[in-house]
Amino acid sequence: MLHRHPRVRLALLLGPPMLWLGVAYLGALAALFVTALWTQNGFTGVIERQWTLDSFRTLFTEDVYRTIALRTIGVAVLVTLVDAVVAFPIALYMSKVARPGLRRILLVAVLMPLWASYLVKAYAWRGMFSEGGLVSSAFNAVGLESPGYGLTATVVTLAYLWLPYMILPIYAGLERLPNSLLEASADLGARTGHTIRRVIVPVVIPAMVAGSIFTFSLTLGDYIAVRIVGGTNQLLGNVVYDNVGAANNLPFAAAVATIPVVVMLVYLAAVRRTGAMENL
C-alpha cells in the first residue's frame, strides 16, 4: 500500500530524522535561548521565570566576559592554525608520496589516538608539562624555562587532541587532486615549492577550512583541557560550567553559551563562501 502513496512514504522516511533535528537540535537551542532570558534567585538558586535581559546586560557590561570570550576565540584560532600547519605535510605525504600499504598504516596511526580517552590524553599532557616532566626537562636541557601550565599548554594539548579532525579532511581533499596535475606542473618546469603553492594549496584550502570547522568549534566549547593544563586560565566553557555546576545560575550560563553559538554561526557564514561545506 505504501508504494501507491509516495508522499506517505516520503513523510515516513523523512519524518523521524526531521523530528530529531527539530526537537533535539533546534528545540534545545530554543530552550537555551529562552533560559537565558529568565532570572534566578541568588540565594536558593531557584529559577524564576520572569523575562529579563539581565544576564545579557551583565555579559556585555562586565569586562571580564569580553576578555574571556576573546581569549577563547584566540585559543581556537591558534589551535586551528597549529593543526593546519602540522596536518598539511602529513596529509600530503599520506596521499601523494606513501605507497598504498604504508598509506593504510598511516591512516590507522592518525586515527589511533581517537581510540584513547580524552582524559587520559589530557592528563598525559599534564604530566609532561609538570615540574620535572618531559616538556620542562626538554626546555631545561636547552637552557630555557618551561612554559608550565597555562595557555601555551592548553593550545598544545588541544591541537594534539583535534589533529586527526584536521588531517582527515585535508587527506580526502588531496586524494581528489589528480596526479596528472602535479605531473603537468612539473613538465611545465615548476619546482616542488612552486607546485605546492600554485597547484596543491588552492585545491586544499577548502579542505583545510572544512577541518578548521571541527578544530575551531571543538576548542570553543572545551573546558576540561584548560582545567587540567591551563593553570589559572579560564575559557568560555569554564564560565558556563562554573555557573551551572557551582553557582547554580542556569540563566547566566545559557547567556554565556550563546556566545560560541553566535561565533560559530558567523564563522560558518564566512566559510560557506569558500565552498568548504562541500568538503565536509
Partner: protein, 402 residues
C-alpha cells in the same frame, strides 16, 4: 529550499519559545528573598516515627566523609553500617559547597554533608526537610554548642545532625619552603618568594580567606566578619585576590588535583584541608600544615536529609550512625577535624586527637570563621550598609580569575 527551511526552523523556535514562556514566577523561591533571620522555609513535615530501612541509601559527601575501605582498607565506617542496617550505601563526593547544592537539587541523593555556606540555601530552597532529632539516639551526645545554630536550624527546628568542624589550613612542601611559614602572607603578599607555585581554593567562598587576612593586616578597613563585607571592604578583598592571582600556579577544587600538584612541585604552598595533607603524606610527599597567625576559615558540617528521598529511614539510620562514637571518631580522625560527639574522643586511634583539634573547646570553635552564605543583610549586625551577597561573590570570583 534553503529559505523555506530557515522559515520553518524559525517558526519552530518561535513556537517553542512561546510554549516555554513565562509563568509569572510561580515557581520562584518561596519567600526565600526575606532576611536571614526571618526567612520562611517551605513548610515540610518531619518524620514522626522510624520504620524499617529501605535497603539502599545514596550519600552525597565531602571526600573522606563516607569511606567504605575502597581508598584505604583500614578506613571504613560504611561497611559496618551496611551490615547493621541492611542499607546499601552508594557515595558521591563533591569538591565545593556550590557543587553540593546543585547536585542535591537533582533529588538523586538521600543525605548530604552540608557546610554552613550550603545548608541555609538547601533549607530555603526546600531541598532538605526538618529532622526529628528525637529519632536519633546519638544526637543526645552531640556537643550542645553545635545544636540550634544559625547554619543548621531555623526558628529552633533542627534541619540535620552536626557532624564535626575543622579549619582550612596552610600547607607547604617542607623541602622547598623554608623557613616554615606562620602567616597567610606567604600566599597573599605580592613579594612572596613562592610566586608561581602558590595554590588557592577554587570557590567564591575563598574571598572570605582574603577578607580574614585583611582583617588582621588592614584594621583600618574595619572588617568584623569576613562574610559581611560592604562595598569598600569587598573591593579590598577582591583586589587582594587579583594581586594573588599573579602568584598562583593553579586553583584547586578537586582534592586529588591538589595532591598531584604538591607531588610534582607545581604547587609548594597554599590552603588545604587536613585530609589532603594526610593523603599527600601517605604518598611520601614532604608536606606540613599549620594554623597561621591571622586565624582560619573553616567549616561546621551538618548531615541533612533530602525532602524527596525515598530512603528516609535509612537516612535517619545513617545520621545516627555517623555521629555514633566509633564512626564519628573514625571520620574526624581521617578527615582531620573535631568530632561532634564528645564520646568519640575515647575511640580515636591517636588519643591526643581531640586535644589537637580542640574538640569540645567552645572558645576555640568560636574563633574559626565558619563558611556561611553571605547575604545582603550584613551578618555582623550592621544595618547602615548593604553587604555583598553570594551572587556578587560568584561574579567577583570569575573576574578575579580573569
Amino acid at each position: 529550499m534553503k529559505k523555506s527551511f530557515a522559515v520553518v526552523s524559525f517558526a519552530v523556535l518561535a513556537l517553542l519559545a512561546a510554549s516555554c514562556g513565562t509563568s509569572g514566577g510561580d515557581s520562584g523561591g518561596s519567600g526565600s528573598n526575606d532576611t536571614a533571620g526571618g526567612f520562611t522555609p517551605p513548610d515540610l513535615k518531619k518524620l514522626e516515627t522510624l520504620g524499617a530501612g529501605e535497603g539502599k541509601l545514596s550519600v552525597l559527601a565531602w571526600p573522606g566523609y563516607a569511606e567504605d575501605g575502597s581508598n584505604d582498607p583500614k578506613v571504613d565506617w560504611v561497611s559496618s553500617f551496611e551490615k547493621e542496617t541492611g542499607c546499601q550505601v552508594t557515595v558521591k563526593t563533591f569538591g565545593t559547597s556550590d557543587e553540593a547544592v546543585s547536585l542535591m537539587k537533582t533529588g538523586q541523593y538521600d543525605v548530604v554533608s552540608a557546610s554552613g555556606d550550603a545548608s541555609l540555601r538547601l533549607i530555603a530552597g526546600g531541598v532538605v526537610e526538618p529532622v526529628n532529632t528525637g529519632l536519633i539516639k546519638n544526637y543526645a551526645d552531640v556537643y550542645p554548642f553545635l545544636k540550634d545554630r544559625p547554619w543548621n536550624s531555623v526558628k529552633g527546628q533542627m534541619y540535620g545532625v552536626p557532624h564535626g568542624y575543622g579549619a582550612n589550613l596552610l600547607m607547604w612542601r617542607t623541602d622547598k619552603v623554608k623557613p616554615a611559614p606562620t602567616s597567610w602572607s606567604a600566599v597573599f603578599d605580592a613579594n612572596s618568594p613562592y610566586k608561581g607555585a602558590v595554590t588557592a581554593y577554587d570557590s567564591p567562598i575563598y574571598i572570605a580567606d582574603a577578607a580574614m587576612y585583611l582583617m588582621a593586616t588592614k584594621p583600618e578597613l574595619g572588617i568584623k566578619n569576613p562574610y559581611a563585607l560592604d562595598d569598600k571592604q569587598f573591593q579590598a578583598a577582591v583586589d587582594l585576590l587579583k594581586q594573588q592571582k599573579g602568584l598562583v600556579s593553579e586553583y584547586w577544587s578537586d582534592y586529588l588535583k591538589e595532591v598531584q600538584a604538591f607531588t610534582s612541585g607545581n604547587s609548594v604552598i597554599g590552603t588545604t584541608w587536613q585530609v589532603i595533607a594526610n593523603v599527600a603524606k601517605g604518598e611520601k610527599v614532604p608536606v606540613d600544615v599549620t594554623v597561621p597567625t591571622e586565624g582560619v576559615t573553616g567549616w561546621s558540617d551538618t548531615w541533612m536529609l533530602s525532602a524527596t528521598s525515598k530512603s528516609k529511614n535509612c537516612g535517619y539510620l545513617w545520621m545516627n550512625h555517623i555521629v555514633s562514637p566509633k564512626a564519628n571518631a573514625a571520620v574526624a580522625e581521617y578527615f582531620g577535624e573535631s568530632p561532634s560527639n564528645g564520646k568519640a574522643c575515647a575511640e580515636t586511634a591517636d588519643k591526643n586527637h581531640c586535644t589537637t583539634f580542640h574538640a569540645g573547646d567552645q572558645a576555640y570553635s568560636e574563633k574559626i570563621w565558619y563558611w556561611t552564605t553571605p547575604i545582603e543583610q550584613c551578618l555582623d549586625g550592621r544595618t547602615d550598609v548593604k553587604c555583598a551577597d553570594y551572587a556578587k561573590w560568584t561574579q567577583a570570583w570569575t573576574s578575579i580569575k580573569g
